[in-house]
Structure formats: structure tokens, C-alpha cells
């Protein structure tokens, strides 16, 4: 596939206001209020099959289109609670007919408690079915721009000039969503951090601190300040890492990442945006087992995270949103899998979520060349997150005004 040269532009610019820091804490002047809202973005890479995630299990078209992959009627975990389902025309699945994939038991429990909002039929006009292009669009929120080089979150961070610290968690490259004029650090090399948390590591840390004690001059002083800040932040991170976790996390890489995020939040770490990635959703063949495993992992890890955050008393200010760059086609293909599609549900997990279904489920009898039509523009979802969670005006970032989707309560729900 054609990869343009601008694809490779890196986001290594200096943080605004001076020293680029590992833990980009809010500038000293900003009051760190305990009610700071935090956004956790979970990217499901590859194109999650939304139709098998939020399943219209009564729909005959569904079963007819997916002879082997359809989730059986009895198996789906019904999504009963209210929400903001619009009045739908005849033929569109209503809430009584929708359920989660059976592997998502843990998330279903949360749904029944009202902590999960399912936004249905999210997409954008003139959809692209190329992985890279579509992912870029979801990252930059600018479908009209080719080769955009900053992301929606990166822009938000840059505009807020140090008041909106973000952290990317994981060893993959910094996602385009976080690219911008401000440096977004990455929590990576977790094994080196693990080592630094040991007794030997402590010795090393104190040696480093001693080396950076005496004041320097000129640029060396700048380097010394950077070192001191790095070491201070490191102490902070290690302290956070070593605190006992109030809940048990399952054993998966995603859970590990979310655990880190939970620990950081619990420790009063200043980041307000966390970004994680879970891959493997490109299920062109033999989807049944693979997808079930992925959804199971997703559900268990996210549920554990929510329980963690709840135990910290922070569930009302932490919002997790899980999205994928596109959905998949309605009809299964010849390899017992599905191909790239369009519209998809977006899952939002939060104490603040107005639990239930939002938007309307795309109709299976009115397809766009075999694909589900979207009803909600993803940028409307972004606008809601930017304004209601991050407290940032959305129009400058998205390039236009998009009406919020009311999946979050304005005030605390408990």
C-alpha cells in the first residue's frame, strides 16, 4: 500500500513551557483539583466486528447473513436497560433485541449496573475501508485532509499548553491521535522500570540523584533540571507501581496496561488522557474463536479497571472509551470471517455514563453496498469527550461544530 513520506513525521517537539517531562504534570500554577476528569482511550486495532459485539440476535437478516458466525439467540447477553434510544422505524432492532457477545460477561454486569453506554452506528461520511486511512481519520478527526500530521488529542494537548497532560501506555509507536506540537510521553520499557523498582534499582536512583545535586550553569543547568525532574517523576511512578492494587486483574497485556493506568490514577498522577491499544481485531478468517477471545480479554480487563477505579472512588471522573477504526461487513465471507466494513458501536465505560443504548442500531435491511450505515458521526462523540470530559472547546480541534451525544451525565451520578 502506498505510504506517503509525511506518514513518518515524528512528534518529538519540545513540550511547551520548557522542560519536556516524562510525567507531564500540570504546570505548578494549575490547581490539581480532585475532581479532574480523566479520559482513557482504548483503541481496538484492526476493525472490531461491532455486529458481533452488540448483537441484534433476533434479526433474521443477521442470522441469515452469518450462518456460522452469528451469535445464537440464547447466548447473547441481553442489553435491557433504557438509554437514549431514538424512535426507530420498523425493521431496526430495538433494545430488547440487542445483546453483548457471550464472552463479554464482565462488561455485561457493568452494563446492568448502568456504567456502560453503547453508542451505536458510529462512523463518518464517505468511509474508507483502508486500515491506515480510516485509522488516520479517527486519529486526526479530519477526513478532508490527506496526510494530516496532528491528532485530535495531540491538538487538544497542545492548545491547553501544559494543562492537559497525556500519557501513552505501551511499547508501540506513539499513535497519530497524540501527535501534535506538545510532547506526549510514553510509558514504555516496563521491564527497565521494573528493575528500577528493586533494591538495586534504588541504589542506582540515589546515585543518579547525587550526580545531579550540584547546580550547573547555562545549558548544563537545563540538562540537570531535566534529569532531576525525570528522577523525581520516576520516584513517583515507582511508588505508584508498588502500591497494592485493590482489585485482581486478569492476565493479559491489556490488563497490565490498564493496571498501570489505575495505579497512576490512584496515586494522583497528573495525566488526564491515557491511550492504550489492543490489536488483533482484523478477523478475516476463522473469526469465531479469535473474536471471542479478544472480546473476553477486553471485557475482563476493562471491567477490572472499572472496579479498580470505583474502589478508588474515582469512577465518576474516569471515562474509558473503546473504539475501532471501522466495523465489518454484515455478510460473513468464505473463510468463516468477515471483511472490512463501516459503522461500529463505541463503548463508553464510566460512573458518569448514562448507561444503555444511544443512537439507533443500523438497519440490516438497508445497507450501503453490504455495509451498515452510520447514524452518528464519530466527531460528535469526540466533541462530547472533549467538552464534557476534558473541558476543552471542540470546534477548533474538529474544524466544525458537532452536537454532543448525551451519553454522559453532566453531573455526578452518585
Amino acid at each position: 500500500m502506498h505510504i506517503s513520506r509525511r506518514r513518518f513525521l515524528a512528534a518529538t517537539a519540545l513540550g511547551l513551557g520548557g522542560v519536556p517531562r516524562f510525567l507531564v504534570r500540570a504546570a505548578e500554577q494549575v490547581e490539581k483539583s480532585p475532581d479532574e476528569n480523566i479520559l482513557v482511550v482504548l483503541q481496538l486495532s484492526g476493525g472490531n466486528d461491532g455486529l458481533n459485539t452488540v448483537v441484534p440476535f433476533q434479526d433474521p437478516v443477521y442470522h441469515e447473513s452469518r450462518p456460522t458466525l452469528a451469535v445464537p439467540r440464547g447466548a447473547a447477553l441481553q442489553l435491557r436497560t433504557g438509554g437514549d434510544t431514538e424512535a426507530t422505524g420498523a425493521g431496526a432492532p430495538s433494545s430488547a433485541d440487542l445483546g453483548f457477545h457471550p464472552a463479554m460477561r464482565a462488561l455485561h454486569e457493568l452494563y446492568q449496573q448502568g456504567s456502560v453506554a453503547v453508542i451505536q452506528g458510529v462512523g463518518y461520511p464517505n468511509p474508507s475501508r483502508s486500515h491506515f486511512r480510516s485509522m488516520d481519520i479517527w486519529h486526526t478527526a479530519r477526513p478532508e485532509v490527506e496526510d494530516a500530521t496532528t491528532g485530535w488529542l495531540g491538538n487538544a494537548v497542545a492548545r491547553q499548553r501544559g494543562k492537559l497532560p497525556a500519557l501513552d501506555v505501551g511499547d508501540d509507536r506513539l499513535p497519530l491521535a497524540l501527535w501534535g506540537d506538545a510532547h506526549v510521553p510514553t510509558l514504555q520499557n516496563l521491564d527497565w522500570l521494573d528493575y528500577l523498582s528493586t533494591a538495586d534499582g534504588r541504589t542506582l536512583r540515589s546515585r543518579l540523584q547525587a550526580l545531579n545535586d550540584p547546580a550547573r550553569e547555562g545549558r548544563k543547568e537545563w540538562a540537570r533540571t531535566l534529569a532531576r525532574d525525570t528522577l523525581a517523576d520516576l520516584e513517583h511512578i515507582i511508588a505508584l507501581r508498588n502500591r497494592p492494587t485493590p482489585v485482581d486483574y486478569p492476565d493479559s497485556r491489556l490488563a497490565e496496561g490498564l493496571r498501570w493506568v489505575g495505579q497512576l490514577i490512584g496515586g494522583g498522577f497528573g495525566a488526564r488522557i491515557y491511550y492504550l491499544t489492543l490489536g488483533g481485531f482484523d478477523t478475516h478468517a476463522q473469526q469465531k474463536d479469535a473474536h471471542a477471545q479478544l472480546l473476553g480479554r477486553l471485557s475482563d480487563a476493562v471491567a477490572a479497571f472499572h472496579r479498580h477505579v470505583t474502589a478508588l472512588g474515582a469512577s465518576h471522573r474516569v471515562t474509558l472509551v473503546a473504539f475501532s477504526e471501522f466495523g465489518r461487513r454484515v455478510r460473513e465471507n468464505g473463510s468463516l470471517g468477515t471483511d472490512h466494513g463501516v459503522a461500529n458501536p463505541v463503548l463508553v465505560v464510566s460512573g458518569r455514563a448514562r448507561g444503555g443504548l444511544h443512537g439507533s442500531h443500523p438497519r440490516l435491511d438497508d445497507l450501503d453496498e453490504g455495509d451498515l450505515r452510520h447514524g452518528i458521526d464519530f466527531r460528535a462523540v469526540y466533541a462530547t469527550l472533549l467538552e464534557d470530559v476534558l473541558g476543552v472547546p471542540s470546534e477548533p480541534i474538529l474544524g466544525a461544530k458537532f452536537a454532543s451525544v448525551p451519553f454522559l451525565s453532566a453531573t455526578r451520578t452518585f
Binding site: P250, D251, S252, R253, G280, T283, H284, A285, Q286, D289, A290, Q293, L294, R297, G334, S335, L336, G337
Partner: protein
């Protein structure tokens, strides 16, 4: 994510000794070994026995073989190591102070037979050593010499003696207690342990190793005339825990049964024997109650299928291969229980694999349709290639690999498999074409006898390449012969295997127990390494930061180590409630020793051809 601790295998280090000692055993030791057992208390966790070491060491030191080994560069390196020099210095000190050769003292004390047992006592680990000397006088003399030397060094200056019946127990600072019982010497780090030994000697107690039911099986599962043997009861080893789930799917498939066996073992036995130029090692795990627990052990059902031997292995050997391994597994059952056998991350990794397999098998469900069709015996073969169709030998030169599977309904399934093969080739070609416009692989089917050999290779432009590279090693091939499917990376190898299978009858004899085997041919191994010597040297240079000269020296060591290897064989399987593993390493070291005295004309045969 907490790492589980590994079991300590007490004899692991000791097992390495025989590699350098290749002298035939002449001293019968079996008859007398029992009596030492009679004096070792039975509450030990395990024991190690070494028999006839003294005579072996003597013979070795006097042999031409020793000179031969010492001249190897690798040995030169070891002998110039500072630690070895330190050790020699100590020996020298000893000999000066005692006026006796250290070797004779060693022989006098430990050279006949030594039995060491250990257990965890209240105060910590308790070790008991019982050794048989050639005679009473020798024993007395040896002990006296050691005492003198120790006194001169200022070690073990204070002794305390006490009398117990006919024997005098000497103890030193509560660290060491010992007693002489005729020509047998018993020593321990615990005085109480010596008393227990004496109880057995006096007949006051009969709880000896010899009578112990727990260890009785060890006698059966130990090699006869073993140089070293050991047995241990793993449940008594502190922190003994075998991880239940394995990290690596291939590892689980191959060694999963052993994980289970180690976990469920009542008794673990190991023994090693040296005869001629051969080293034999046997490991046995006597399974206990845990293995009977059906619920837990059901997940291992895939490792013990019923098999029908057919003599294919033997034919393959005649054709000459670098290495082969044959495992017998019920793949469907293994796959079914993979979540129980593998960590979740490893199991997750298999998703991608099954996706690919499903594409390859054109929509047939991998778990429900493909796997159950595969028979229990899976053979993997590696053979050095001759590259007749290429202009030059590729660099690096990779051996051909092949997998031979049994297919239950071969006639019906074979078309599907052939289609799958070409599908895979097509996918690879499409991928290459998209990326670089690289050469595609072209099918060139041929017939071997009446068998269709489906094979693909790169176009002639590539075969004429004067500096062939990695890709030139690959001519993927597929053939179905009777009920066997052969998939190979090399057409040459596929053809060899097809020929080996010609006329092989379908097995009809009674079934047998699953047995895994592995064999490696020394000459072929040397050959392939030699072919790739430059690549190995370059790799060493980059990885170790060496100059070319230094790298060649290190690689040379590797080659030296393999110089005398004839072949290596391993077999493993379950017999009743015992999991066994037998390893045999054949070297040409004994013939070398013999031919040293042969006339000069025999020199040509001396050098093992690479």
C-alpha cells in the same frame, strides 16, 4: 506474573563429568552397592551414588586418550583458566604437606563407591556421605593424611571424640561429624545423622534406604553398571513447583508430558553410564497419585495416544539425515485443552496460527475438521541439501526441513491438502508481488514413482544467481504417500522421503504406547556448521564485538566440541506409571584411543571427516 521456582535437580552438575571420561568400566560394583544402602537412613529426600570412579580416573589419566583431549584447543582454554590453576595449587600444597599424592588419597577415600544422601533437618540441610574404601588400613591412612594436612593449614584444628559402642565418632566444631566403620567411612554435617547411621549398622533400626519402599523402584529405573545414579522424592524438595501452564505452544507440544510427569512424580531417578565412547543417561519419573487424579490429568490425554508402529523411522535413517524427531500426540485432544496447558498469552498467540491454518485449509474448521484427521505420529526431519539445481551453494545454507503427518482419510482429504498447499503458495506470491515485485514461486510438479510431488521454486533468473542467498534454500514441496502427508521446505528432501516411504505397508500390527524419539547425526551436523562457518563467524563478530580472528577462535571451539560426536539419540515415553527418557551420545573417542597405537598408515582413518 510471579515466577515459579524451579526444582533443584541435585545431580545435574555431576552428570557432566562423564563427557570427558571415556574409559570402559571393568570393576563390577553392583554386588557391593547394596550394603551401603543398608546404612543410609531412609528419610533422605534423595541420594547420589558414584561407583568405581577411582579406577576410571586412574585409567583415564594414564591413557592416550587423555593426551588427545588435552591437545584440543578447548581443553587448553579450560586448563589455563585461573580457577583450575588455583585448584592445582591447592593439590600441590596438599601433596607437599602430606608427602602423598592427592590422587591416592582420593582413591583411598572416595574411589570405590560413594553414597550421598540429603534431607532437610530442623537446623537446615543435612548431608550424609558414606564411602567404601579398598580396605580398613587404606581408609585409616587416608583419613590420617587429611587430618595432618588440615592441621598444617590450621583448619579443623579441634576435634571432639565420643565413643559409641565399637566406634569412635569424631566431630569438628559441630560442622562435621564422621566415623570409621571397618572399611567404610561415614561423614555428615550433623552429629545426630551419624548416630542414625550407626543405629542401622548396629541393627537397632531397619529404616534404611535399602528397605525403603519409596526408593525401591529406583533400582528398576536405573541403568545397570551406572557410573552415577541418583534418586529424589520431589515432594520433599522445598519450593518444588512445576509451572502448570507453559509459555510456548511448541514447547508444550513437545515436552508437555514431561512437565506433567515432573509435577506428578513420586520419585525421580537419573543415572549415567559410560561404555566405550558412549555416554548413556536415563531419567525416569515414577508417577504417583497425582497422575491418577483423572480430572487433572485428562488434559494430558493428548500426550499418550495409541499408536501403530510402521517402521518408517528405520527407513528414514537408512537414507541419511541430519536430524529427525518423531513425536506421537493426539493433536486434536491437545488443541482442545490448550487453554489448560498454555498460559493465556501463549494460547492467545495461537489464534493467529489457527486463522492462517483456516485460510490455508480453505474454510475447513481447523479444530473440528482438520486436526482430528491427523494421526498421532508426527515426524520432523532435517537434512542437509545438495543444491544440485543452483549455480553455487547459498549463504547461509539452511538444511531442508520436512514434516510428515499421518492423515486418517488420506484419499478423501488429499485433494484438500494439495489445494491448501497451492493456496499458501499463492498467498506468499501475492504478498511478495505487492511489496517488491519480487520473484514469484512457480509450480513444477513431478512424479516420483507413482506419487505426485507438488513442488514450487523460484524462476530460473534466481537459480542462475551466482551469489545465492537465504531464499535459495527454499523449494516448498508437498506429497501424499498412502496415509502420509509430507510437507517440506526442500524438494530434494521431499523426494528422499517419498522414496523412503515407497512400498511401506500400512501398519496393521497391534498398537503400542506412544514413544517420542530424536536423533542427530554428528557428521551431518559438522557438515552444515562448516558450510555456514562464515555466517557463524560474522554473527559472533557482531554479537560479541570480536575481531575476525577472535571470532574464528570461538567458533573453532564449537567445532572442536563437536569433532568427536558420532550421533545422539533420545527416546522418551511412558511405560505403565513411569515416564522414561533415555539419551545416548556416541563418540569416537574410544576408537581414537585404540588407534593411537596403530601403524602410521591408519592415520587416514583417524581424522573424522567433516
Amino acid at each position: 506474573m510471579s515466577p515459579s521456582s524451579r526444582p533443584r535437580i541435585p545431580c545435574a552438575v555431576l552428570l557432566l563429568w562423564p563427557l570427558f571420561v571415556a574409559v570402559p568400566i571393568a570393576v563390577p560394583t553392583a554386588a557391593r552397592s547394596e550394603s551401603l544402602d543398608a546404612w543410609m537412613p531412609d528419610d533422605v529426600i534423595g541420594y547420589v551414588r558414584v561407583s568405581g570412579l577411582g579406577a576410571q580416573v586412574d585409567r583415564f589419566l594414564a591413557s592416550d586418550l587423555r593426551k588427545e583431549l588435552e591437545s584440543l584447543p578447548m581443553a587448553q582454554e579450560l586448563l589455563s583458566h585461573p580457577n583450575w590453576k588455583k585448584f592445582l595449587k591447592e593439590v600441590e600444597n596438599f601433596e607437599t604437606s602430606t608427602g602423598q599424592s592427592a590422587l591416592s588419597v582420593f582413591r583411598g577415600l572416595l574411589g570405590e563407591e560413594v553414597l550421598v544422601g540429603a534431607r532437610i533437618g530442623l537446623g537446615g540441610p543435612e548431608v550424609i556421605l558414606i564411602a567404601r574404601a579398598p580396605g580398613e588400613k587404606e581408609l585409616e591412612k587416608s583419613l590420617q593424611l587429611i587430618k595432618n594436612a588440615a592441621e598444617q593449614r590450621g583448619v579443623f584444628a579441634e576435634y571432639k571424640s565420643r565413643q559409641r559402642g565399637d566406634w569412635t565418632v569424631e566431630s569438628v566444631q559441630d560442622k562435621l561429624a564422621h566415623v570409621r566403620i571397618g572399611s567404610v567411612w561415614a561423614a555428615s554435617n550433623s552429629s545426630a545423622a551419624i548416630d542414625r547411621v550407626l543405629d542401622l549398622v548396629e541393627g537397632k533400626s531397619t529404616s534404611s534406604l535399602q528397605n525403603a519402599a519409596a526408593f525401591s523402584r529406583a533400582r528398576q529405573d536405573t541403568l545397570k553398571d551406572a557410573l552415577i545414579s541418583a534418586a529424589v522424592r520431589p515432594q520433599f524438595i522445598p519450593n518444588y513447583a512445576i509451572p502448570e501452564k507453559v509459555d510456548n505452544p511448541l514447547g508444550s507440544l513437545i515436552a508437555g508430558a514431561w512437565t506433567a510427569a515432573l509435577d506428578a512424580a513420586d520419585l525421580l531417578c537419573a543415572s549415567a553410564r559410560v561404555s566405550g565412547g558412549d555416554l548413556e543417561v536415563k531419567l525416569a519419573s515414577v508417577l504417583g497419585k497425582k497422575a491418577d487424579d483423572q480430572k487433572d490429568w485428562k488434559k494430558y490425554a493428548g500426550f499418550f495416544p495409541e499408536v501403530f508402529p510402521d517402521g518408517f523411522k528405520e527407513r528414514l535413517e537408512k537414507k541419511g539425515v541430519l536430524a529427525y524427531t518423531q513425536v506421537q500426540r493426539n493433536l486434536a485432544k491437545w488443541w482442545e485443552r490448550r487453554e489448560d496447558l498454555l498460559t493465556s498469552k501463549a494460547a492467545g498467540g495461537l489464534i493467529e496460527f489457527s486463522n492462517v491454518m483456516s485460510i490455508v485449509f480453505g474454510g475447513r474448521n481447523f479444530q473440528d475438521e482438520v486436526l482430528p484427521d491427523l494421526g498421532p505420529t508426527v515426524t520432523i526431519v532435517a537434512r542437509n541439501q545438495e543444491y544440485k539445481s543452483l549455480a553455487a551453494r547459498p549463504q547461509p545454507a539452511i538444511p531442508g526441513f520436512a514434516g510428515i503427518f499421518q492423515l486418517k482419510n488420506a484419499k478423501d482429504s488429499s485433494e484438500g491438502i494439495v489445494a491448501a498447499f497451492y493456496t499458501l503458495v499463492g498467498i506468499i506470491n501475492a504478498d511478495r508481488a505487492q511489496k517488491k515485485g519480487g520473484m514469484s514461486m512457480i509450480p513444477r510438479p513431478k512424479k516420483v514413482g507413482d506419487v505426485d510431488l507438488h513442488t514450487v521454486s523460484f524462476g530460473s533468473a534466481m537459480t542462475k544467481d551466482s551469489r545465492p542467498g537465504l531464499l535459495h534454500n527454499f523449494t516448498p514441496s508437498l506429497a501424499v504417500v498412502g496415509s502420509k502427508v509430507i510437507i517440506s521446505s526442500s524438494e530434494e528432501l521431499a523426494q528422499v522421503i517419498v522414496e523412503a516411504l515407497q512400498g511401506l505397508e500400512e501398519p496393521t500390527k497391534a498398537s503400542g504406547a506412544a514413544r517420542d524419539s530424536l536423533a542427530v547425526d554428528g557428521a551431518a551436523l559438522r557438515s552444515i556448521l562448516k558450510t555456514n562457518r562464515d555466517v557463524l563467524v560474522e554473527d559472533n563478530m557482531l554479537k560479541r564485538g570480536h575481531s575476525k580472528v577472535e571470532a574464528e577462535q570461538e567458533i573453532g571451539l564449537l567445532f572442536d566440541a563437536l569433532q568427536h560426536l558420532r550421533d545422539l539419540r533420545l527416546e522418551s515415553g511412558r511405560k505403565g506409571n513411569v515416564m522414561e527418557l533415555e539419551l545416548k551420545v556416541s563418540t569416537d573417542l574410544d576408537t581414537k584411543a585404540a588407534s593411537q597405537s596403530a601403524p602410521a598408515g591408519a592415520k587416514a582413518e583417524k581424522a573424522v571427516k567433516l
